[in-house]
């Protein structure tokens, strides 16, 4: 009796109605999750029809390749977004640091394993420090901004403002090589995206990271160690940046201070254009990769059209804004 009454108060729908509404709900959900795909598909189709050379295999591989670096960094940085700490503004600086540490260790004659280990250890430290500060309650945007600034200054100072060029590049195969015609960078990107996606939905750590972003207060009350998760998220972002740093060193055999100019903005744009809820708590990591792809595709199309740099930037900003607005409106409708 009482149970029925509760249903009256809360549900107020008959079974068939609720099934119907559930069906509608799931349609809305899938529409929502497809939202970032829609612009990609649209752009892709239009471009393939209208622009000669766009739909060619080499060009598409070039697009994936060009989005790989941004994408890999975005996968790591997305952990910060998902755990509810917005984005890191120190991605560029972390990548530069990694590039310098890696080349420096290699150029003093250490084996590649040592260089990789050193780079990753430095990344873990960098990530842990930032994560600790943010977990203490400092504003994540400003903390990473300040930390990045100090980090960059320190690296440039320590490197004595020099470019380090490798005579022998042990990571050339990874940074520049191809497997079955696909650039290895792109392979790494896709593998990481898959790993990350599975990680978030199929591990305790991943699921708790998502919950922590969804509502940190509730997460804390049920005993989820949110500080630790925040630190882990920052470490993973730093590790992804470090990987990006090493991959690019593998590709170009050198470390220079301005080699990642603009990466941070690209990564932030990729995360947001992909549609990862910026408030956190939405565990769809693949969106970060999709975002990177959309952005690269946009610039690729404009490049194929032979547009001038100014026009290209203008369109890039405008289109990104349009995608963003369309997605925001769609998401609100589906709620």
């Amino acid at each position: 009796m009482v149970a029925a009454m509760v249903d009256l108060s809360g549900v107020r729908t008959t079974a068939s109605q609720s099934a119907q509404s559930k069906g509608r709900g799931s349609v809305a959900v899938s529409l929502q999750s497809l939202a970032p795909i829609a612009p990609i598909a649209l752009i892709f189709v239009i471009a393939a029809v209208a622009i000669p050379g766009f739909a060619s295999g080499p060009n598409l591989i070039a697009v994936v390749q060009a989005s790989a670096i941004t994408g890999i960094a975005a996968i790591g940085a997305a952990a910060i977004t998902i755990v509810g700490k917005f984005v890191s503004l120190a991605i560029e600086q972390q990548a530069v640091t990694a590039a310098y540490v890696f080349t420096a260790v290699l150029s003093i004659g250490q084996p590649v394993a040592v260089a990789v280990a050193a780079t990753l250890i430095v990344a873990v430290i960098i990530g842990a420090v930032q994560g600790y500060l943010v977990a203490r309650g400092l504003n994540p945007i400003v903390t990473t901004l300040a930390f990045g600034s100090a980090l960059f200054g320190a690296v440039v100072l320590l490197s004595n403002n020099r470019t380090i060029t490798l005579r022998h590049n042990p990571l050339a195969w990874l940074g520049g090589g191809t497997s079955w015609g696909v650039p290895n960078q792109a392979v790494v990107f896709v593998i990481l995206l898959a790993i990350g996606t599975v990680f978030l939905s199929h591990t305790r750590l991943g699921r708790q990271i998502v919950l922590c972003g969804a509502n940190p207060k509730a997460a804390e009350l049920i005993g989820i160690p949110i500080s630790r998760l925040v630190i882990i998220a920052y470490i993973s972002a730093a590790l992804a940046s470090a990987l990006v740093g090493m991959l690019v060193v593998g590709q170009v055999s050198q470390a220079s201070s301005n080699m990642f100019d603009g990466l941070t903005i690209d990564v932030v744009a990729a995360i947001l254009v992909g549609g990862i809820a910026i408030q956190g708590g939405e565990g769809q990591l693949w969106r970060a990769g999709v975002g990177a792809l959309i952005l690269t595709m946009l610039s690729n199309i404009m490049l194929l059209l032979g547009l001038d740099a100014g026009v290209r930037l203008l369109l890039k900003g405008g289109l990104a804004a349009a995608v963003l607005l369309a997605m925001t409106v769609m998401r609100r409708r589906s709620r």
Binding site: P58, F152, N160, T165, G176, T178
Partner: protein, 385 residues
Amino acid sequence: MNQSSITAQNATRRIVKRSRRYLLSLSILALAAGPAWAADLPLSGGGKEIVVLMPSRSNAYLAQWIRGAEASAKEDDYKLTVIENNFDQTEQDSQTEQRIALPHQPAAYIWWPADARAGIASLRRLSRTGVPVFQANQAVQPAAKKYVKAYAGVDDFFNGQIAGQNAEAARAAFVAAGNKLSSPGGNLVILKFIPGYSAGDDRERGFMDATKGKPFHVIATEYGGFDNASGYKAMSQLIPRIRGQGIDFVYGMSDGPVTGAVQALEEAGLKPGKNVYLVSATCIADISAIKSAKEFATGVQAAGLEGWFAVNVVARYFAHGDKILPGTYIAPATVDARPQFTEPPSEVNIIPNPPVVVGTNAADAPKVLANFKLWGQTFVDHCVY
């Protein structure tokens, strides 16, 4: 030695000869114009201060420039103060205001505008202090000529011309190697620096000027940044679009983007140094492409040398009693030792920018580089920092 490399060497010799002649005549002109004080003047500045207002040395080229300038200041007994901005004109303007306002003014200012050709009002205010102002690295705008005593540094137009000559040599070698040009002039891709960066425009003009006799067919002009990674990114996205037309030559504004382009071309299955020739006229940091002869030719635009030269021009200005000669002076590209600069500086003082043509034979390339010398220093000394 196969046929193609001999042709390449001939072409090289021709270029070197031609540019030597050009430089020689210019320097003779300059010498003739000035009074002939042949005596070795001591350039002692007596510890006076030279203030350099320039963008940040977090960029390796600028850092090397400062090292050269500091060496030069030490030789001539000047105290060098570098005030850096973060590639930001507003910051440079405030720094200028601040420095101008101080009671102790330096002996000279060296002005390297943050934003190419910008900051004209700050330059004017610098010149009003009465302290001589010398501009470095970025060519003096016509409107700003009256505020600047002299210019010392690279000439981007000249650099473009050298690149043009390199490209012509590459074309000759390309044909001689039995490759077929995709168009009468040969298809060319230009990788410029970044949008709005005027050095890129000047170099492009210089290149066009040097090749106007038999112009290349430019199939794409793309921004390839300053470093390998940017060059790679630009080229790899460009290739699918233009490949069908045939890519014969790539002109990169410096070796950074060229090295990236080499990578991108190789990944696309093209063979730099075989069926596509790449040239530049500025070596920077990474010499792997030129060393493996995947890049056909480059030029030595040495950051350290430029910095040394800029301070030297200032020192000579004072040593000669504040004298400036009219016209342009291009410093000779002497091989074994730095030339004796005994004459007063000219209005425009350009550092040498000798071409380095290694051709297409990877085995010979290191030798060519090893044999190269400018002002007594090797290719590596100038280009690796």
